[in-house]
């Protein structure tokens, strides 16, 4: 057993510290905190004192499961990332807790992902892919059989793509990379990684259906409605939150083209194309950044809490 086998779960997913602006990091922590709090409450209701050993060992399973790879071609190999599988088998609350434990431990122990940006990593690798994959799987819940296995595969692939999209968006909103390059590059790479994830997820689920079908039906039904709603809200909030930022930041493709064009024409032209723009939309000034971040966290957290609270079924 050598270090090479240690899971390097899609290196480009674990954002290190320093690559996101502080405001974005804090907003992500706010969103994550609400999701984690809800997941802890729901899971405690469902599992009581069983929760800790169950979630802890399933988190260790995801970590170990990421070691199981299969050769693809030319020395590369595919392996599990796990959010979709975890959410489907364990339900969204327990699944999110297990994924969170994996991400936190990877950051604390291996520096695989930063500490201050951990909230963003939890969104990118846990919340968004987990709920996206789970929602797609649940959508075909009633069809049953092969249809649902196929849905799990589609869900796993979409989950990876969503995760890649979130990472690319967060990076470009922080002014660390350009939107027009990061989004297609990340999606392109992860379209392939997603196929590996989809194949493993489907095969693992097929295996569990054959050997232990009750595991899927029981856990699935317990929290289905909840996960659906929360998943929808998650996507809506993310879009709502980031769309103003996106439109405010300069279109990367455009600026590249213009720069290139300008340079081709006149080598030493003073191209202050966008004199007012600094790419980090929320500024680099210390106090203002913190203030903006904290206000953002409070608003988002309050909004999320009210929404999820009202939408949660009172009797479950």
């Amino acid at each position: 057993m050598n270090v090479m086998l240690l899971p390097a779960a899609a290196q480009l997913m674990h954002i290190p510290d320093g690559f996101l602006s502080l405001a974005i990091s804090l907003i992500c922590w706010g969103i994550t905190a609400v999701f984690l709090a809800l997941a802890i409450r729901n899971a405690q209701e469902a599992f009581d004192e069983r929760l800790i050993p169950l979630a802890g060992i399933m988190a260790a399973f995801i970590f170990a499961g990421q070691m199981i790879n299969f050769p693809v071609a030319g020395g590369t190999s595919g392996h599990l990332i796990g959010a979709t599988l975890a959410f489907i088998v364990l339900g969204p609350s327990l699944g999110l807790l297990a994924m969170a434990a994996v991400i936190i431990l990877q950051a604390l122990l291996f520096q695989d992902g930063g500490l201050v940006v951990m909230g963003a990593n939890l969104i990118g690798m846990g919340i968004v892919p987990g709920y996206a994959g789970y929602a797609i799987y649940q959508f075909w819940q009633k069809r049953g059989g092969r249809m649902q296995l196929a849905a799990a595969g589609v869900g796993a692939w979409v989950a990876i793509m969503m995760a890649a999209l979130v990472v690319a968006l967060l990076l470009s909103f922080s002014g660390t990379t350009s939107l027009a390059i990061a989004v297609p590059a990340m999606l392109g790479v992860h379209a392939l990684i997603g196929i590996g994830e989809a194949l493993i997820t489907v095969a693992a689920l097929a295996f569990i259906r054959q050997t232990r079908p009750q595991l899927l039906s029981r856990e699935g039904e317990a929290q289905a409605s909840n996960g659906w709603i929360a998943g929808g809200i998650a996507v809506a909030i993310l879009v709502a939150l980031f769309s103003p930022l996106a439109s405010a930041s300069p279109d990367g493709l455009e600026s590249v083209a213009q720069q290139a064009g300008f340079l081709g024409a006149a080598q030493d032209a003073p191209f202050q194309l966008l004199p007012d723009y600094t790419i980090p939309v929320l500024g680099d000034g210390g106090a203002s950044t913190i203030a903006a971040g904290i206000i953002g966290v409070l608003v988002v957290a309050g909004l999320m809490y009210t929404l999820t609270r009202n939408l949660r079924k009172p009797s479950e």
Partner: protein, 265 residues
């Protein structure tokens, strides 16, 4: 595989190692937050932050080479950040022809890229030092004292406890597969059926591992209940803040504030 396979602790007898883990966690997080607040091109402040890092690693008797090697983990992300060199508006420094595209590195872009690199590199090294000077159970315990929700802390410590067990389990599954089919001859990876077949086998192994983990959690839970577990984990390792902990922590915070001051002068 040994219990400590996954731990990144470097055993030494230094003042940093003996510092209360809470102090180390707080100072590390403050250092990383402060780094994120340093403006682009604050070279003097970057230098000061690096000096602080060198001082801590020296006091902790952690070698610079070792630190450097482990900090390479930020490498892949630099690839994502390198695009700002060309996309940030500023004065063009050169003009490179790359197929159909004309790449123009700008001074503003270069400044930003180098600043991102330095901030990230400093941050990851401090986090590495934290893990290298603190045993993981102590680190988790510090999180508990710092009011991280108890359930989450307990889940993480449980995960850590069973990490090597399940990694061993996965290792056995991999070994069994290798001895039966999928390992190629002469580095070729194509033996053992089609791509779909290989993916299916890997998926079955993941499912197998999941079921075994599920059953293990059942056994562990029953064993815990038999010993009086009621949903709360107890610790036999209480930490107490000594006056030296407060002092060293204070020194760290002041140093971090000074670095911010340097950046804004």
């Amino acid at each position: 595989m040994h219990v400590n396979t996954f731990d990144r602790y470097e055993s030494r007898q230094s003042a940093i190692h003996q510092l209360d883990p809470r102090v180390k966690v707080v100072v590390t997080v403050l250092f990383i937050v402060a780094n994120a607040l340093l403006p682009d091109g604050a070279w003097l402040a970057f230098l000061a932050a690096w000096a602080l890092l060198l001082f801590v690693s020296g006091a902790a008797q952690i070698g610079l080479g070792w630190l450097l090697k482990r900090s390479l983990i930020v490498g892949p992300f630099l690839l994502a950040a390198v695009t700002v060199v060309f996309t940030l508006p500023g004065n063009g420094l050169a003009q490179w022809q790359l197929g159909p595209w004309t790449l123009v590195p700008t001074d503003a872009g270069l400044l930003r890229f180098v600043s991102i690199f330095i901030r990230s590199w400093l941050s990851v090294q401090m986090a590495i030092l934290l893990t290298a000077t603190t045993q993981f159970p102590d680190l988790i315990h510090a999180l508990h004292h710092l009011r991280v929700p108890n359930v989450l802390v307990s889940i993480i410590s449980f995960m850590y406890r069973y990490l090597f067990e399940l990694a061993n389990e996965a290792g056995r599954l991999l070994r069994a597969r290798e001895s039966r089919s999928a390992a190629g001859v002469n580095g070729r990876s194509s033996s053992g059926g089609s791509l779909f077949w290989r993916a299916k086998i890997a998926g079955h192994m993941v499912g197998q591992l999941l079921l075994r983990s599920f059953e293990r959690s059942d056994r562990v839970y029953n064993a815990m209940v038999a010993r009086g577990y009621n949903g709360r984990l107890l610790t036999m390792n209480p930490h107490h803040m000594k006056s030296s902990d407060w002092q060293l922590g204070g020194v760290g915070v002041v140093a971090i504030l000074l670095i911010q001051l340097v950046a804004r002068l």
